[in-house]
Every structure is written in structure tokens, then in C-alpha cells.
């Protein structure tokens, strides 16, 4: 049997207990730069952008599962506490904020009034529109009404996740609540869409970084998605693309060829200092096909996998 090395965890592996190590911080800025397609000379500028101003952010949660928030919490190490308490000012976010009830609502109203035209509004979740929006209420108001009140006061609205961008799971066939993406629910109101279920938080951070660096948001594609992240398909950067013997998952139903996203490039849950560990993972690394979660209406495009013997017996390599 392999020797048991429990209890010998590398000391380097211990999490930072004090402040943020500069090395980690710059490494993360490097990832942001890479996500944006910028070279290393931009890293100091990115570090500076995140250390300086504190743009106000209002984060609204509609018909969602909170996976997008969880994604945001997850892989922003070392940014998480720095974003919410440092680089930006998170004025409203129901999952994270201390106050409840009227005190919470007061924060929303104050922020929308005090930072009118300046705050960035991040939306998570679809908006129920059927029956005047009664399927989603917060503080006695419908989500539809809240979106109508708050979004037009923002400097920009970012729809974070498949639900906010395109309606997502709530708007899949069988949708009884008239759930729609924010853009559509508000009658074509312009939004920056960062789809994915959940989306990669680095794409959100990189979008905000562009804004901090340039005072404007990055160029978008026809679906309102930032081109730096959604300009190429997952297939184009997939490690299995060039090698059929490496078990390309296309024949198991992988949608990587028609899915525009940076999963294969940037990966998820990054920054683990574990010896030997990759900087992040993505589904293809665990032999799971991409199901196309950053494309509109992906829930309804057909079965997720090819079940007729292919995927389920996927132990052996297939070609071509």
C-alpha cells in the first residue's frame, strides 16, 4: 500500500492568516490580465486599479439558485474579502449583508439615491413576469418592479449568470412564471451579459477591471457578452482537441464546439497552492462534456449527453 502521509501537509499550503500575500495578489492580477488578453506589463496597472477607487456595487438577486453568488464567493481568492470590504463597496447583497428587513431595504434605497448614475448593478437570476410578477417578491415589491426602479439608475447593469442573462433554468420549457432574463424583462434594456451556470467569477472581475482601468466596459458580442471571455469556443482551447486518443468528448454529446466561453482557458476554482495541482479545473478534466451553459436557451436544446451507448460506456477511447 502507498505510504500514508497524513499529517504532513506542506507548510506552504497553510492558508494566509494575515493580510494577502503580495505574490498571491499579483498572481491573481496576472490571471485577470490573461483573461483579458493583456500582457504581463498590465499587471501592475491592474493591481493599482484594484487597490484604488471603491466603485459602489448593488447586487440584486431575483429568481435564482444563488449559485452565481456562490461562484463569486468561491474562486476570487485572494480577492473575496478585498472586493467586498476593500476594492469595491458592496452596498447591497442579500446573501452577505448584515442588516435584514427594513434596514436592508434602506441600504438599497440609500445607495441607489446617493450613487445615482455611478453604481454598477449586478443582477443574478431571472425575473418572473407572468401575472404582474407575483412569483417573485422582496420586501412586498415584485422583482420586476425592483428591477424597473433600480436598473435605470445604474451606470451599467451586469447580468451575472445564465438566468439573469437569458432566463436560464427558470425560463426553460415549462416555465410557468414567465421568467425572463433582465434585458428582456425590462423591454430590451441594455445589459452586459456574463452567462454561465454558474459563470466564472474571473470574467466578472475582469469586466470590472476593464472599467476601472479604462472608465468603460469591454467590447461585447451580439448577445451582450464580453468578447474577451466569449470570443472563442471552449473547443478551440480544449486540451483534448488535438488528440482523438485523448478521448475527445464530442461523441458523448460535448457542446464545446458551439459554446463560447473561457472555461477551457481560464478554468474554475483557481489558485490552489497544492503541490502538483493545476491552477484550476474544468469539466472536461473529469471526463464530463460541456453542456453549453453560456449559450441562450441551452436547457432546451436536446438531451445533454448522447445516451445511446456512447457516454455511458465512455471508458474506452473513441475516434475520430
Amino acid at each position: 500500500m502507498h505510504e500514508d502521509n497524513r499529517g504532513e501537509a506542506d507548510l506552504d499550503f497553510a492558508p494566509p492568516r494575515k493580510g494577502i500575500s503580495r505574490r498571491d495578489f499579483l498572481k491573481y492580477c496576472g490571471l485577470v490580465a490573461a483573461a483579458l488578453g493583456l500582457d504581463a506589463t498590465f499587471i501592475p496597472r491592474i493591481a493599482q486599479a484594484w487597490g484604488g477607487t471603491r466603485p459602489p456595487i448593488i447586487w440584486l438577486q431575483f429568481a435564482e439558485c444563488t449559485g452565481c453568488t456562490e461562484s463569486f464567493l468561491r474562486s476570487t481568492n485572494p480577492f473575496l474579502d478585498d472586493i467586498i470590504f476593500g476594492a469595491a463597496s458592496l452596498e447591497y447583497h442579500e446573501t452577505l449583508m448584515a442588516p435584514s428587513g427594513q434596514n436592508a431595504t434602506q441600504n438599497l434605497l440609500n445607495a441607489a439615491a446617493n450613487y445615482r448614475g455611478q453604481f454598477i448593478c449586478i443582477c443574478e437570476g431571472a425575473i418572473p413576469t407572468a401575472d404582474n410578477g407575483v412569483y417573485g417578491m422582496i420586501g412586498g415589491k415584485t422583482m420586476l418592479q425592483i428591477a424597473k426602479d433600480i436598473c435605470p439608475k445604474a451606470k451599467a447593469v451586469i447580468s451575472f449568470g445564465a438566468c439573469a442573462s437569458f432566463g436560464g433554468v427558470a425560463a426553460a420549457n415549462g416555465n410557468l412564471t414567465g421568467a425572463r432574463g433582465v434585458h428582456k424583462a425590462l423591454g430590451g434594456y441594455p445589459t452586459i451579459n456574463i452567462p454561465g451556470c454558474p459563470p466564472n467569477p474571473i470574467t466578472l472581475v475582469a469586466t470590472l477591471t476593464t472599467y476601472l482601468l479604462n472608465g468603460s466596459f469591454p467590447p461585447l458580442d451580439g448577445y451582450g457578452r464580453p468578447l474577451f471571455a466569449y470570443g472563442t469556443t471552449n473547443h478551440e482551447n480544449c486540451e483534448r482537441k488535438l488528440s482523438c486518443s485523448a478521448k475527445c468528448l464530442y461523441y458523448y454529446g460535448c457542446r464545446g464546439r458551439t459554446t463560447y466561453n473561457n472555461c477551457s482557458l481560464v478554468k474554475f476554482n483557481n489558485i490552489v497552492n497544492t503541490p502538483g495541482s493545476p491552477d484550476g479545473c474544468w469539466p472536461v478534466q473529469v471526463n464530463a462534456p460541456c453542456y453549453g451553459c453560456s449559450e441562450p436557451r441551452f436547457w432546451d436544446r436536446s438531451n445533454f449527453f448522447l445516451y445511446n451507448g456512447h457516454y455511458i460506456n465512455a471508458c474506452e477511447p473513441v475516434g475520430p
Binding site: 500500500m1 499529517g7 501537509a9 497553510a14 492568516r17 493580510g19 438577486q61 435564482e64 439558485c65 444563488t66 449559485g67 452565481c68 456562490e70 476570487t76 473575496l80 474579502d81 470590504f85 463597496s89 452596498e91 447583497h93 446573501t95 449583508m97 448584515a98 442588516p99 435584514s100 434596514n103 436592508a104 431595504t105 441600504n107 418572473p128 407575483v134 412569483y135 417573485g136 412586498g140 422583482m143 436560464g168 433554468v169 427558470a170 426553460a172 420549457n173 415549462g174 410557468l176 412564471t177 421568467a179 474554475f268 476554482n269 490552489v272 497544492t274 495541482s277 479545473c281 474544468w282 469539466p283 478534466q285 473529469v286 471526463n287 464530463a288 453542456y291 438531451n303 445516451y307 455511458i312
Partner: protein
């Protein structure tokens, strides 16, 4: 004279919840719990391939993602389980994914979602003697090695936030409430340091999901018949994975031992009044978290406790589960077993005397049941079947001077969550990682099977169910589908999830749900700042998108 307090939205939870209480003579005499969002996931599942269902059910909740995915997989597997056996490797990988989910969830809950109910940030900033803070820190756990400079730094960060005028998520909390004064400034500063640490540490623990599931939230490696992972590895891939899993578990275990469990004991000791309030009478555990063997031994045993009789745990009978909709915004009036359940929304406006929630009201043997960590721990304790849990409960009670009966309370619920976290991470670290890695070690074995193939059975209709435990409590999925023509389609899909049990409204007989009962008797000293209500509501770890789905 009585008055009403409405808290809407309840924040620091998953989902959208409104809680209203009626207060007389400074105490809650009635409470109503309302889920304010309905997405209709069950109707959305209709007519889809049952083998795809897990993808959608996983989106019931983005916090405990994996659990809804795997429960769906196992409900479908249950419908055809005479056709195959899930491989051992898949069972262990599923255990690891499930265990990581619990450990991660509970740490995030205690620190990010619950701690600010017990700790006043402004008191933390008021700590002046950093040497006294260090002494207090080491008294909590001798393994803590933080120095005065560390705490001065935390204090400076908090002061900077407070002084910036942009308090962000901390703005407008119930700071200064007299209920916070139980905790000294020194302990408050320590707790805030741990709050900030936990925000970072949670990103690492869940990396286990990235390694075995491709990503988190919403890991992607699930499959009817096993897991998608390719377990044929060479020596170097194997040792990289072994060291990753081992180190991640070690780090999580260290955090639980050094911080989480001791911090919960600090809160339990500082707030003894919450040992006497916030309890419910009945507990239900479907059993699980992990299947310890292919024979079906469960890590947490199944059982039900009525009227706080910890010593007489009853067996669980699936047929005794019903869901009421009398006070919920759904059509129909019969209380149905989920195998034949229905979800037909019918909104009639918020009326506390009539219908007032999107949650249904689940009942077991006709009774409202609390589910979750407290139920799991007390059922295991009552049965005496899990020595490690009996020991951990005994130690916690001895450390804090609590009696066993005090566990039926707000503090008991929070303590049970920490106790089971320790039990789970200890099992992962000591057993499960080695169990898996020894099996797939390329030097010794070629057992790399993680999934099996099968063809769907010929019957025209199939049905299956699976009862298990999610971090927040008892969870069941029920599926029925037609399987004709190789193109199977879901006919009915029902989920009864933990927060539906805990936060459901009144039923046909006007019996209140668990949280509605738990709040009765809670003292409220300042109706503008109903901190006491929040403490009990948060102790259940509400998950409302999941509860309504």
C-alpha cells in the same frame, strides 16, 4: 396589546424569505414564515429525459448544488436498480463530493451567514488591549498561534471600513443592540478575524469539488451508473491527486478543530439564554451523507424523534410523508404523498389567515418535523449507534456546561452543525481518501471502474425515489417516467427538501411549521431591531430557493 414585526427580506440566507411575528409583553406569541419566490422547477422537469434530470435539479440550489444532483441520479438509479450495481469507486467518490459539500456549507453558514447575529462589529473595533486578545485567543484553542500584531491588523482593517463611510455589507446592521453585550470586545475581535479567514478558507475546501467534479458550484461529473471520472491514472497523476485530496482535507480538518468547533463553543457559552429558546419538538433524519459500504450502511442513521424523547428513536416510513397545500399558493386541498404529489401554482395574495407561502407544508405521521444537523446528531445519539457522535456530543456538553435537553434550542442546532462537521471531515481525512486512492493506485490495482453501462428497462413506466440528507436536512426526490421507445420522458417529479420541512407554513389543521413554532417565546427587546428572531431563523440555515424550487 400585541404588535407585528415583519422582516422581509431575511438576509444572509439562500433565497427569498419573509418572517412575520406577533409580539406581546416583549415575547413572540405567533410567527409566520413565507417563501416569496416560485420558479417551478418540478413542472420544468416534465417531459424531459430522466437521465438529464440531475442537471436541472442541481439548480434547485446553488449552495448545496451537488446534493440535489446526486439525489436525482439515485432516484433514477433506484427505478432500475435491478439492472446494475454502482461501482465501489463511484460510491466513494460520491461520498467525498457529498462530504466536501457539508463541510464547506457548514463553515460558510456559521461564519458568513450566522456569526454577525452574535458578534457586534463595533464592539470588535473597541478592543484595545491586543495582548488580552491573544490570551483569549489561545484560551479558546491552544493550537492558535496568532500574535498581537495580527489582531491589531484585523482591528485596523475593520476600523478602516468603518471610517471610510462606505461600510458596504456591514452598513446598517443591528450594531449597539444590547443583546450583543454578552460577548466581550476581545472575543468580538477574535470572531471577526475568524469571519474574515473563513471567507478565504472556504474557497480552498471546496476545491475537492473541482478535483472530482470539474468545478464548483454545480459540479459536472455525475452520471446514472456512477461518475464520469477517468480513474485510470499513471503514478504521477495518482500521487498528485492523492496529495491534493489529502492536503485539502487536512486543511479543512485543521480549521474545524482549531477554529470552527471552538468558536461555536464560545458562542454557546456566551449566550446561555439561547439554550432555552428556539427549539422544536420533533426531529426527522432520512439518514445518509455517505454510504459507508455497498451494503447500505449509512454514516448517519435514519430515524424520527417525537416530543424531544431522544431515547426513543422511531423507524422512518416513506409512506408517512405528506405535503399540505392548504395554506400555500397551490391548487388542491388534499395532503399528498410525494410519489403522487402535484405542483399547480395558484397565487391568491399574502393573507396570513389564509394562504401565505410558496412553500408546501410537509408532515411526517401528520406532524411538523425539524430536519437538519440537530436531527441527524440527536437521532444518532439517541440510537447510540455512532460512537464518534456520542463522544463529540458528550465533549461539547461538558465543555459548555450544557445538558442534553439544551440541545433542543437555537444554540443546540448551531452546535450540532459544528459537531457533525467535525465527524464528517474526520471521516474524509482518515478513511475515505485512502479508501479511494488505495483502490485506484496504479501500482497495486487495476480497479479503475467508475461507472457502468446499462440499457433502460423495457417496462412502459418506471418510478423511483431516494431519501437522503442534504446539509440542511432530510431530502427526498421522487420520479416517475415513461420509458417506451428508448426515449424516456418524465411524467412527474417531486422534491421534498430540507427547508420545506423547516420553513413550511401551517397545514390543513392549522398546525404551524417548525420555525413558526420555534420562534414562540422568543423575547424581543427592541422591535426596530429584532435580533433575537434572526438568531433563531438563521440557526436553521434557511435555503428558500431550494425549499420552493
Amino acid at each position: 396589546m400585541s404588535s407585528k414585526i415583519v422582516i422581509d427580506p431575511i438576509t444572509r440566507i439562500e433565497g427569498h424569505l419573509r418572517v412575520e411575528t406577533e409580539v406581546a409583553d416583549g415575547q413572540v406569541i405567533k410567527a409566520w414564515s413565507t417563501g416569496t419566490l416560485f420558479r417551478g422547477i418540478e413542472p420544468i422537469l416534465k417531459n424531459r429525459d430522466p437521465r438529464d434530470a440531475w442537471m436541472i435539479t442541481q439548480r434547485v440550489c446553488g449552495v448545496c448544488t451537488y446534493v440535489h444532483g446526486i439525489t436525482s441520479i439515485r432516484a433514477v438509479e433506484n427505478s432500475i436498480d435491478s439492472f446494475f450495481t454502482v461501482p465501489e469507486n463511484a460510491r466513494i467518490i460520491r461520498n467525498l463530493l457529498g462530504g466536501a459539500q457539508f463541510v464547506h456549507d457548514h463553515i460558510v453558514h456559521f461564519y458568513a451567514l450566522h456569526l454577525l447575529d452574535w458578534v457586534d462589529v463595533t464592539r470588535a473595533i473597541a478592543a484595545t488591549d491586543m495582548d488580552a486578545v491573544v490570551t483569549a485567543d489561545q484560551a479558546i484553542s491552544s493550537s492558535r498561534t496568532r500574535d498581537a500584531a495580527f489582531f491589531a491588523d484585523v482591528k485596523q482593517r475593520l476600523s478602516d471600513i468603518a471610517g471610510s463611510g462606505q461600510l458596504g455589507p456591514l452598513a446598517n446592521g443591528y450594531w449597539g443592540h444590547s443583546g450583543y453585550t454578552n460577548l466581550s470586545p476581545e472575543l468580538s475581535l477574535i470572531m471577526m478575524a475568524d469571519y474574515l479567514d473563513a471567507l478565504r478558507i472556504q474557497t480552498r475546501i471546496i476545491k475537492i469539488h473541482a478535483l472530482l467534479g470539474g468545478k464548483n458550484p454545480h459540479p459536472q461529473s455525475m452520471l446514472i451508473g456512477g461518475v464520469s471520472l477517468d480513474l485510470a491514472m499513471d503514478e504521477s497523476q495518482w500521487s498528485a491527486l492523492y496529495s491534493d485530496l489529502n492536503n485539502l482535507c487536512y486543511e479543512a480538518k485543521t480549521f474545524v478543530d482549531t477554529f470552527y468547533l471552538p468558536d461555536v463553543a464560545v458562542i454557546a457559552s456566551a449566550y446561555p439564554e439561547y439554550r432555552a429558546i428556539g427549539g422544536t419538538d420533533n426531529l426527522l433524519c432520512f439518514g445518509g451523507v455517505a454510504d459507508l459500504s455497498s451494503a447500505g450502511d449509512l454514516m448517519f442513521p435514519r430515524g424520527a424523534i417525537f416530543n424531544r424523547a431522544t431515547g426513543s428513536v422511531q423507524a422512518v416510513n416513506e409512506a408517512a410523508i405528506t405535503e399540505h397545500v392548504a395554506r400555500s399558493w397551490y391548487a388542491g386541498s388534499a395532503a399528498l404523498n410525494p410519489a403522487s404529489g402535484a405542483t399547480a401554482p395558484s397565487y391568491t395574495g399574502l393573507d396570513l389567515d389564509e394562504k401565505y407561502s410558496w412553500l408546501k407544508a410537509p408532515r411526517y405521521n401528520g406532524q411538523p418535523m425539524e430536519v437538519g444537523p440537530l436531527a441527524r446528531v440527536m437521532v444518532a445519539y439517541g440510537l447510540g449507534a455512532v460512537p464518534a457522535i456520542t463522544q463529540l456530543v458528550g465533549d461539547f456538553l461538558a465543555n459548555t456546561g450544557m445538558a442534553l435537553s439544551d440541545m433542543y434550542s437555537t444554540i443546540g442546532r448551531t452546535a450540532a452543525r459544528a459537531i457533525e462537521t467535525k465527524f464528517i471531515i474526520d471521516s474524509m481525512y482518515a478513511d475515505w481518501v485512502n479508501e479511494l486512492m488505495n483502490r485506484i493506485n496504479p501500482q497495486f490495482t487495476t480497479d479503475t471502474v467508475g461507472r457502468v453501462g446499462f440499457t433502460l428497462p423495457p417496462q412502459p413506466t418506471c418510478s423511483g425515489s431516494f431519501l437522503t440528507e442534504a446539509p440542511r436536512g432530510a431530502l427526498g426526490h421522487w420520479v416517475s417516467y415513461s420509458s417506451g421507445g428508448g426515449n424516456p420522458q418524465i411524467v412527474n417529479y417531486q422534491m421534498v427538501v430540507p427547508s420545506t420541512w423547516n420553513f413550511g407554513p401551517r397545514d390543513l389543521s392549522d398546525v404551524a411549521g417548525p420555525v413558526e413554532q420555534a420562534l414562540i417565546g422568543t423575547p424581543v427587546v427592541n422591535q426596530q431591531q429584532p435580533l433575537e428572531v434572526l438568531r433563531t431563523v438563521h440557526s436553521f440555515d434557511p435555503c428558500i430557493a431550494c425549499a420552493v424550487h
